[in-house]
Symmetry: C2
Subunit: 154 residues, 2 copies
């Protein structure tokens, strides 16, 4: 997996640049994080890291996620229930989310037009955009189907 090595380097570079230390815990957390696909909460990541190395604390996971955000490897997104999810971001192009409020499923979408319109709007208000969060809440296909099945069953 050449990508993983590259991302690991990005992290080590970041540590060096900011004169931080490379530790076993940070390496373990990065390693596990890069092995997850999709979205993880901090607790999930903690549990996964724990499974491999029980000597890692909650705190360190949080602190490391912050570092990963800083060096652009992790992207933070707010789920529908208020807790924070993370996904890796490095060379994983920008996208927004459809969020199923029944099962919590996250569907990624990307629209060139919407991105363009956002730029346009920001310009109108002389607003300098840094980033955005665009979430559409509703029911995913699966949950709609189940809903329908439940309705006809009674």
């Amino acid at each position: 997996m050449p990508k993983k090595r590259e991302e690991t380097e990005v992290f080590h570079e970041h540590l060096k640049r900011t004169r931080l230390k490379r530790t076993a815990q940070r390496d373990a957390i990065l390693d596990v994080f890069l092995d997850t696909e999709g979205h993880v909460s901090s607790e999930e990541l903690y549990a996964l890291v724990r499974a491999k190395d029980p000597a890692v604390g909650f705190t360190t996971v949080y602190r490391t996620l912050k570092l990963l955000k800083e060096c652009g490897l992790a992207r933070e997104l707010e789920s529908y229930d208020g807790r924070t999810l993370y996904e890796h971001h490095y060379k994983h192009s920008h996208h927004d989310h459809l969020i199923c409020t029944q099962c919590g499923a996250l569907i990624e979408f990307y629209s060139e037009e919407i991105e363009r319109m956002q730029e346009e709007i920001a310009r109108q208000y002389r607003f300098k955009p840094f980033h955005h969060s665009h979430r559409i809440f509703g029911a995913c296909a699966k949950c709609q189907k189940e809903e329908k099945a439940r309705a006809s069953a009674q």
Copy 2:
């Protein structure tokens, strides 16, 4: 202010419909809420209500805001710092926000095209959208100007 009376009626109707009781506290909170323009946090609203009627608790403000959401008078939105803001929503058309991460300013925007594109995307994924949250974070015109002034001052 004919609008306010109308909204008050909506609330009282909602109470009747759901067999809830009309109380002095609920009336006070509604009254103060309708008098605010723009966005209030629950604590701000609590403070404002407190100023008029010191015998109202935190809890009641939260619980009443929930009722106001239910009957469509209040809309909830997440600020950039994780706390919840409320705005009144009744006959106040839908919009999204540009959020200044420096001063917290909220600028409302609305784009027919973006709304349309969202529908389109949902359709593509057979997703049934209920509502959405679209926030663009960045620096407002004022903060950019101040930033520039600070930079040239040194």
